[in-house]
Amino acid sequence: MKISKSKLFYSFIFVNIVFIFLQIYKQSIFIKYTYQNQKLILRKEQLIQNKNELTQQLLILKNPTSIKNYAIKKLKMEKIKLNQIKKLT
C-alpha cells in the first residue's frame, strides 16, 4: 500500500498538534495538582499553628503552680505525706 507524501505530511502535522495539546493538558493538570498541594501545605501549616495554640492553652491549664494554688485555695486540699500512702498489692 502506497501512502502519498501529502498524507504523510498532514498526518505528521496532526500528530504534532495532538502532542502539543497533550503537553498543554499535562501542564494544566500539573499546575492544578501543584496548587492543590500548596493549598494542602498551607492548610497543614494552619493546623500545626492551631495545634500549637491549643497545646499552649493546655499547658497553661496544666501549669503546676496554678493547679497547686487551685487545690489549696479553692478545694482546701492539703499536702500528702508519704506515711499516708499505702501500697495495695
Partner: protein
C-alpha cells in the same frame, strides 16, 4: 493594469514588507541582541527568592512533656516615610510607647521602624482600639515555657528567638536548624501560590531535645526548696537529684529564679544556674570523701581508735581550730558520723598530699562537662600552694570549692559501689554504650555506706531519715568567706544523701545559703537535712516507690 495601480500595489506591498521587517528587526533585538536583559527582567518579575526558617524545635523533659515550645508573638511597626496620620501616631506613641516616640525622630525618613516587639495583651488592645492604620502588626516566632521551674536549665531565647543561655543557647544550632532558600515562579495573580519551585540551598531541619530532667519532680523539689528558704529567710538555695545508675540529672534547680515568660523583666543574676555556676567551701560534707581516701589508702581502719581529745577546740602544728561535738577516743567511723573536725584533721595529716589527688579523683576542680554554659569548676588547693594549715582545712571542706552538681556526682561513686558515672542532662542513644570506671574498692564503699547510714540513724543527720527507706547522708555547715575572712554568721548549709529501696536509688544534693538566723546554733542538720527528708518524700511519692 495601469501604472498607478501597479505603483499603489508596490507601495502597499513595500509598506507591509517594511512593517514585517520592523517587527522581525525588533524581534531580533529583543530575542537575540537584548535577550539577557529581557530574560533577566522577566525573571525578576516572575521569580521570587524566599528563605524559610524551620520552626524552632521543642525541648522535652524525660517524660516527653514539652518544657520549651513555640508560640507566635505580635510586634507593632510603622513605615515612618509613609505615615498618613503622622500627628495622631506621634501623639499615640508619646502616650503609650514613649521609647518608640523618642526613636521616631531618628527614623523620620526610614522605611521601617519597630514600635515594640513581643507585645502584651494590653498593648495589643491599645493598638487595636486606637484604629490607627499606620500602626501595623507583625507575627514573629517566640518561645513559651510552660513550667517555670525548668527554665533554669532550658534557658530562654532573646527577642530574635536565639538562645540566650541554658540549653536554648548551647543547642541553638540544633534547635533552630538552618534556613532553606528557594526561587518561586509566580505571576501577578497567583498570590500565595507558585507555578514552580527551585530549591537553591537546602536547609537543615531543627531537631528536638529530650532532657533528663523530670519537670514535675523539678517543680516539686523547687517548691520544697522555696518553702525552706522562706522559713529560714535564706538568700539562695539549690537542689540536684541524680540517678546514679545512669548519671541522669532528674532535677537541677536553684533559687531565686526567674519567670522565663516575662522576657523584659529578667534579672540576669537570677538566671544563673547556681547548682553549677556557684562554688562554695561546703564544709563537713567533704569529710565523706576524705574518709574514703583514708580507707582506700589504708592510713586508717574503720574501727581504728582516734583521739579526738575530748575538747571542742584544739591546736595541731600550732594552728587552732574547733569542732561542734567533743569526743574522746572513738573509732574512726564515729569520727565521721559525729563530724568531728579534730579526728578528721588527724587522719588527713596521715594522708598528706594524697588528699589532693583523691579530691581530683572524685571530680572536684574539674568541670562535669554537662552541656550548659557557665559551669564553675571550683578549686582544690594544690600541694605546692599549701600552707601548714592546708591539710587541716582540706580535711573538713575548706580550701576546696565545688559546685552542687560536682558534689552529687562524687556521691554517685558511693551509690554505685565505687563506679564513676558521668552526669547527663540530655538523653542520647549513646547512653548505654558507656562503661563506668571503678575508682574505689567496693569494700571501702560498703564501709562508708554503713557510716553514712549511721550518720542518718544516730549521727548528725537524724532529721533526714525517711521511715521505711534506707537513707545514707552527710550534713555540712560551711562558713562563707567574706572579704578575706570566714564569717561566723554567714553560712552555707548542705546535705548530700542517697535514698534507697531495693534496686531504686537516688542522690539528693542540697544547699541553702545565708540566713539571718545563721550563727553558732544553726547547722546543716537543722536546715538542709529536713529539706532532704521533704524532697525525698516527694520523690518517692512521685516515683511511686511506696513501702
Amino acid at each position: 493594469m495601469n501604472r498607478a495601480y501597479k505603483l499603489r500595489t508596490f507601495l502597499i506591498f513595500s509598506f507591509f514588507i517594511f512593517l514585517y521587517f520592523t517587527i522581525f528587526f525588533n524581534l531580533y533585538l529583543i530575542q537575540i541582541i537584548n535577550s539577557t536583559y529581557f530574560s533577566d527582567l522577566a525573571k525578576k518579575q516572575y521569580n521570587i527568592s524566599v528563605t524559610i526558617n524551620p520552626p524552632r524545635a521543642t525541648i522535652f523533659d524525660s517524660k516527653n512533656n514539652p518544657v520549651a515550645l513555640n508560640k507566635e508573638s505580635l510586634s507593632a511597626f510603622i513605615l515612618p516615610n509613609k505615615l498618613q496620620e503622622s500627628e495622631k501616631v506621634k501623639k499615640f506613641l508619646k502616650k503609650y510607647f514613649p521609647q518608640a516616640h523618642d526613636r521616631l525622630n531618628n527614623y523620620k525618613n526610614k522605611f521601617f521602624m519597630h514600635i515594640k516587639r513581643r507585645l502584651t495583651e494590653e498593648q495589643i488592645n491599645l493598638i487595636k482600639e486606637s484604629n490607627l492604620e499606620d500602626i501595623k502588626i507583625l507575627k514573629e516566632p517566640s518561645r513559651f515555657y510552660p513550667n517555670e521551674s525548668v527554665a533554669i536549665v532550658t534557658g530562654v531565647t532573646n527577642i530574635d528567638n536565639k538562645g540566650m543561655f541554658g540549653i536554648e543557647y548551647e543547642f541553638n544550632d540544633q534547635l533552630s536548624g538552618s534556613p532553606t532558600s528557594m526561587v518561586l515562579e509566580k505571576d501577578a495573580r497567583s498570590g500565595h501560590f507558585y507555578f514552580k519551585k527551585e530549591i537553591t540551598k537546602t536547609g537543615i531541619d531543627s531537631k528536638s531535645i529530650n532532657l533528663t530532667i523530670d519537670s514535675e519532680l523539678q517543680f516539686l523539689a523547687q517548691e520544697e526548696l522555696q518553702e525552706t528558704m522562706a522559713e529560714f529567710e535564706a538568700k539562695e538555695g539549690a537542689v540536684v537529684i541524680l540517678n546514679p545508675d545512669n548519671g541522669h540529672i532528674l532535677t537541677m534547680t536553684s533559687l531565686p529564679g526567674f519567670d522565663p515568660n516575662n522576657y523584659e523583666n529578667l534579672n540576669l543574676e537570677n538566671t544563673k544556674n547556681k547548682a553549677i555556676s556557684n562554688t562554695y567551701e561546703f564544709g563537713s560534707v567533704m569529710k565523706v570523701f576524705v574518709a574514703i581516701a583514708a580507707l582506700q589508702e589504708g592510713v586508717v581502719k574503720i574501727d581504728e581508735l582516734i583521739d579526738c581529745e575530748n575538747t571542742k577546740e584544739t591546736q595541731i602544728d600550732g594552728f587552732s581550730f574547733s569542732t561542734t561535738i567533743a569526743q574522746g577516743i572513738v573509732p574512726f567511723a564515729e569520727v565521721v558520723e559525729k563530724s568531728n573536725n579534730i579526728g578528721m584533721a588527724k587522719v588527713s595529716k596521715k594522708l598528706g598530699t594524697k588528699i589532693y589527688d583523691h579530691y581530683l579523683n572524685f571530680g572536684f576542680g574539674k568541670k562535669t562537662n554537662i552541656p550548659l554554659n557557665g559551669e564553675n569548676k571550683g578549686y582544690v588547693n594544690p600541694p605546692d600552694k599549701w600552707s601548714r594549715r592546708s591539710f587541716i582545712s582540706l580535711s573538713f571542706g575548706y580550701e576546696i570549692t565545688a559546685n552542687l552538681l560536682q558534689l552529687a556526682t562524687a556521691f554517685s561513686i558511693i551509690a554505685n559501689d565505687g563506679y564513676q558515672v558521668r552526669p547527663k542532662l540530655i538523653i542520647s542513644e549513646n547512653d548505654q554504650k558507656e562503661n563506668p570506671k571503678q575508682i574505689y574498692s567496693p569494700e571501702v564503699i560498703q564501709q562508708i555506706k554503713q557510716i553514712l547510714q549511721n550518720t542518718v540513724n544516730q549521727g548528725t543527720a537524724k532529721r533526714a531519715a525517711v521511715k521505711g527507706y534506707k537513707v545514707m547522708g552527710k550534713t555540712g555547715t560551711g562558713n562563707l568567706a567574706i572579704d578575706g575572712s570566714y564569717s561566723k554568721t554567714k553560712n552555707i548549709y548542705s546535705f548530700l544523701g542517697i535514698i534507697e529501696k531495693d534496686d531504686y536509688k537516688r542522690i539528693i544534693a542540697i544547699y541553702i545559703k545565708e540566713t539571718p538566723r545563721g550563727g553558732k546554733d544553726l547547722f546543716g542538720s537543722a536546715v538542709a537535712a529536713p529539706l532532704f527528708e521533704k524532697i525525698a518524700e516527694k520523690l518517692l511519692i512521685h516515683d511511686k516507690i511506696i513501702k
